[in-house]
Subunit: 241 residues, 2 copies
């Protein structure tokens, strides 16, 4: 199920053969568990392994010297964790499990071997990082140019769309294990302000964030308010046949 959601994502870019799918599958062997809050990738570390997230949520973030932190992205089942730290040989960020998580470990050497053996699989994986870049860019624009309310709205919508693609959400809403502190660190706000913004969105009848549940009270109004356009998140058919 999870392997298939990864295969689906990669297949959006490069049509994968049975051989390539089986190599992908062979990467997917060494199961591990990590508990919430204990980082599995550290800034500055080199020769990391990467991981494929099977269940639970994680986030990648950076720390500044003054103790501030910025969450760059959240990962949900089917996403890679710490892939960039393998590709660039050294990690520029940390990865923390938001909940307890199940992952499969992919050693850097195994991944590079697979890249040599099946370049088309490599292309698919690398291609997918370009979609990740598009997501980070959206996030950047959001933080740089939107009000706190629009940021929050956009963020909750994007997460909803991503979760829907792996069957964990819908237009009604989704289960969301994040705290208001996570939201604050992701959106570049203070936790206090996050609370106020959430209340305003709730009072306006757009969205409710409460007890681990996000409920879209008026999806369309929220999407309009946030100028949300989900095209960058999905792909119709493979680009390279």
């Amino acid at each position: 199920m999870i392997a298939s959601s990864l295969a689906r994502k990669l297949g959006a870019f490069v049509k994968l053969s049975a051989t390539e799918l089986s190599v992908l599958d062979s990467l997917n062997k060494r199961k591990r568990i990590f508990v919430a809050g204990r980082d599995l990738v550290h800034q500055g570390q080199s020769d990391q392994a990467a991981y494929i997230l099977a269940s639970g949520w994680a986030c990648s973030y950076k720390l500044l010297r003054d103790g501030e932190r910025q969450i760059v992205d959240f990962q949900i089942p089917g996403d890679f964790l710490g892939l960039r730290s393998v590709l660039l040989h050294t990690s520029d960020h940390n990865v923390e499990p938001v909940t307890d998580i199940e992952v499969t470990e992919v050693l850097a050497s195994d991944l590079l071997d697979a890249f040599v053996k099946t370049p088309r699989l490599a292309m698919a994986i690398l291609w997918a990082t370009s979609r990740d870049e598009a997501m980070v860019v959206e996030h950047l624009v959001d933080i740089g140019r939107c009000s706190a309310g629009a940021r929050m709205a956009h963020f909750l919508l994007e997460l909803g769309t991503r979760l829907s693609l792996v069957g964990l959400g819908s237009r009604e809403g989704y289960a969301c294990p994040l705290t208001q502190y996570h939201l604050a660190d992701a959106l570049g706000l203070s936790a206090v302000h996050v609370n106020r913004v959430l209340r305003k969105l709730r009072d306006k009848g757009m969205v409710t964030f409460r007890e681990g549940l996000v409920t879209f009270d008026d999806y369309d109004a929220l999407a309009t308010f946030a100028e949300f356009d989900p095209t960058y998140l999905d792909q119709i058919g493979p680009i390279l046949v």
Copy 2:
């Protein structure tokens, strides 16, 4: 010279054979000129060509409905323009020449053909997008969690390092055709505030931005102030031999 700076960048990830280099070179044929200020890639357009920048500066940005704009990144000689719009089949951003620029056009079909013929070249190009992602992430953290002063300092330092890698800058400084409006749109600030921040940095004896010239008056103090660590911008040797 420019082709070599691109080859150098790609060679940092995958060691390229003579054949692969010649395919790269064959992409590099159709010369074109664009004048400053006239966009060459538009948000929402599909089946774009991509471009390799030979001389001049460009920037990629997004527009919001209320007219605000956020510059995501600047491109300098040796960088791709609009690569993501080819990879994802549709452009999620605009590209504007900051100065008059010379580029070589790469048709989407030619690029995908080259991907099929020389997968290792494809891997190199895609790998490089993962470095781009690291840059966008730095930018994101900058905007999300730093004061206006630190943002500006970090930005000017990063640009300096990138320019040094292609021989257009040094620890002393570099030629910079950007206006204060460009800086404002890149850093998520107002142009007025950019002006004040620049003056403060100049008064502190750290950096001077004036008449198209950036001068590092005290490089180390500036780097400390901005918590600048350039490792993510360069690579020592090829990862895949």
